[in-house]
């Protein structure tokens, strides 16, 4: 069991979802390398952060919000965190 888990929350409101949020969630959810290392959650909306629309999709990693997230940016952050913590 991993001791350090990265907490990832992804907005899947319709706007964020349309601009890739849902697919980021699906990719992370089905990524075998991350199975025991992340707490993955979907969020209805980060209110102000994604309501404007131009930040979509918004993803929160360990409490920090990331605007216009993409799977490559998000995985890089997660993997860097896990490597630093010696989990991977």
């Amino acid at each position: 069991m991993a001791s350090r888990k990265v907490r990832v929350r992804i907005c899947i409101g319709t706007n964020c979802s349309f601009h890739g949020g849902q697919l980021i969630y699906d990719k992370l959810d089905s990524e075998p390398l991350l199975q025991d290392h992340i707490d993955l959650e979907t969020v209805k909306c980060f209110d102000k952060a994604c309501k404007e629309g131009k930040n979509s999709p918004v993803v929160e990693i360990d409490g920090k919000l990331h605007a216009r997230a993409s799977i490559e940016k998000i995985s890089e952050i997660i993997f860097t965190k896990l490597k630093k913590a010696g989990e991977l």
Partner: protein
């Protein structure tokens, strides 16, 4: 190995991003009442904002490509080569609720096409010029020789048997080709004199798989997003009919009821499952199949002409059969697709209304261009285009709490979304209601496989009585207009099939 059209699926690529932003920008202009020529011409500048190009030689070309996408998304024809200009002077013709799109639906945006090398076998620099050189030994046509210290394939001799690719110990020999052409199951993608991809419309059946397979986003279809939004603004009797594959397409945490409610919020007067029409289709096809089976049973002699019933719900499959196997095509059922059956019912109940089909399918856009289908179905949208409308209207499906019962269809019709579901339902009904214990059934998905299947029927290698064809991988859930990854879509549809409250049609319905 994933098939070519599965490689990009499930990723939000920069190609997806540009496509969706074009849809969303256009939708926003209509929703916010700002759809002037100036605003529409400004879209490429909103999408390509930076001074430096990201994907092409310069921002001017990037914007020119986006402009072509805008034209298609508005329902206009391409304007290419010397014709291309920064203006869209003909935009006024499509700012209407009327149907404006016409053939060709699927278009190569030539300035976006990177002229990928055509199908050939090539030796890469992994070649070690080894002593054994099994590639040379295995080649049946002596197309391989050593040139400049490396194996070399003479393309004029090569017959693409691919033996050399499997035998090389360094995996140094590969087949390369154009993703669009590989995705096309009817070999409709050719090259023009300059080497740009060109669609042969004699062969094209508008399945749309090339659109989602081109890694440069150089192929796009026309959209009716603008006209549907006009209808919604100016008409209060616009009905939506949802293809059976719709569950989970707008997010796997969005319930089917939330999708229906969301559509009503968007201005659709009513929403109906197209699985309703699929249920009707089961009855019609089962009746036809039973007749064939009776006839076969009655005749003792082995008939020369092998009789069977081909399903008719996938327009691309039907067109493929007609174009490539005209002698077998008469066995394909001539009944309406579930889309048309459902629209017919809506128009019976509300004759002066408009019907918009929302689905995963580009071929349905093609189908709805022609009479009598166009009398029933006014417009066709993909799930992706509908999602852009939700975004533009700021309708968040995740926030919809209200529920509503959805009871238009039985498990039969709902199962039409997945390959095997159509012939499964028809066979089930024919067995239980017409008393045939065994029905020889065969099916194929993707048009290349469909053609192989028809070829084996023609050659007499297989003798099925019921034949299902689907153009998209795994059926409609694999369609080019879908949003959800295949695995999730399949699970969601299977659950929705199980949850069907309506009982499947009984034998008295025949």
């Amino acid at each position: 190995m994933p098939r070519i059209f599965e490689k990009l699926r499930g990723f939000y690529t920069p190609v997806t991003d540009i496509r969706r932003r074009v849809f969303a920008e256009i939708a926003k202009l209509i929703v916010e009442d700002r759809a002037t020529q100036d605003e529409i011409e400004a879209i490429p500048y909103k999408i390509i904002t930076e001074d430096e190009p990201h994907y092409r030689c310069c921002v001017f070309r990037e914007r020119a490509i986006v402009r072509e996408r805008v034209r298609l998304a508005c329902g206009l024809d391409l304007k290419e080569g010397g014709e291309n200009e920064p203006k869209i002077p003909d935009i006024h013709a499509v700012l209407t609720g009327k149907k404006v799109i016409s053939e060709p639906l699927v278009n190569v945006i030539k300035i976006g096409c990177e002229r990928c090398p055509t199908d050939s076998v090539v030796v890469t620099d992994l070649c070690r010029n080894c002593m054994a050189h099994p590639c040379i030994l295995v080649c049946p046509v002596n197309a391989i020789s050593i040139i400049n210290g490396r194996s070399h394939v003479d393309t004029s001799k090569c017959i693409k048997c691919l033996r050399c690719t499997t035998v090389c110990p360094y995996e140094a020999i590969v087949r390369r080709g154009r993703p669009c052409a590989q995705a096309c199951g009817v070999d409709a993608i050719e090259s023009d004199a300059q080497g740009y991809a060109e669609i042969n419309y004699e062969k094209c059946v508008s399945c749309g798989l090339c659109i989602v397979s081109c890694p440069f986003g150089a192929i796009a279809d026309k959209s009716e997003i603008l006209q549907v939004l006009y209808e919604l603004k100016h008409q209060d009797r616009v009905h939506a009919i949802m293809a059976p594959s719709f569950v989970s397409q707008f997010g796997n945490k969005v319930s089917p009821a939330a999708v229906f409610k969301g559509l009503q919020k968007a201005g659709f007067k009513s929403v109906m499952e197209v699985a309703f029409g699929a249920d009707q289709d089961v009855l019609i096809e089962a009746g036809k199949l039973a007749k064939i089976l009776e006839k076969v049973k009655a005749s003792t002699a082995d008939q020369e002409d092998h009789e069977f019933l081909g399903t008719s719900c996938c327009p691309s499959w039907v067109m493929t059969a007609r174009k490539f196997f005209p002698d077998l095509a008469k066995h394909i059922s001539d009944s309406y697709t579930p889309m048309v059956e459902t629209a017919k019912k809506v128009k019976q109940d509300d004759p002066a209304s408009k019907v918009v089909f929302i689905g995963p399918c580009i071929a349905k856009k093609h189908e709805s261009l022609f009479q009598p289908m166009s009398d029933y179905v006014d417009h066709v949208l993909t799930y992706e285009e509908m999602a852009a409308i939700f975004v533009a209207m700021k309708i968040d499906l995740m926030e919809i709490q209200e529920s509503m019962p959805i009871t238009d269809a039985s498990r039969f019709g709902r199962g039409y979304a997945i390959a095997g579901g159509v012939c499964g339902a028809i066979a089930d009904y024919t067995k239980s209601c017409y008393g045939f214990p065994e029905i020889e059934t065969t099916r194929a998905d993707t048009l290349r496989e469909c053609r192989k299947m028809l070829a084996s029927i023609k050659a007499g290698e297989i003798k099925p009585r019921l034949v299902e064809g689907m153009a998209c991988p795994d059926g409609c859930i694999g369609g080019p207009g879908t949003l959800a990854p295949l695995k999730l879509a399949r699970a969601a549809v299977e659950k929705f099939v199980k949850d069907a409250g309506k009982k499947e049609p009984g034998c008295d319905a025949k």
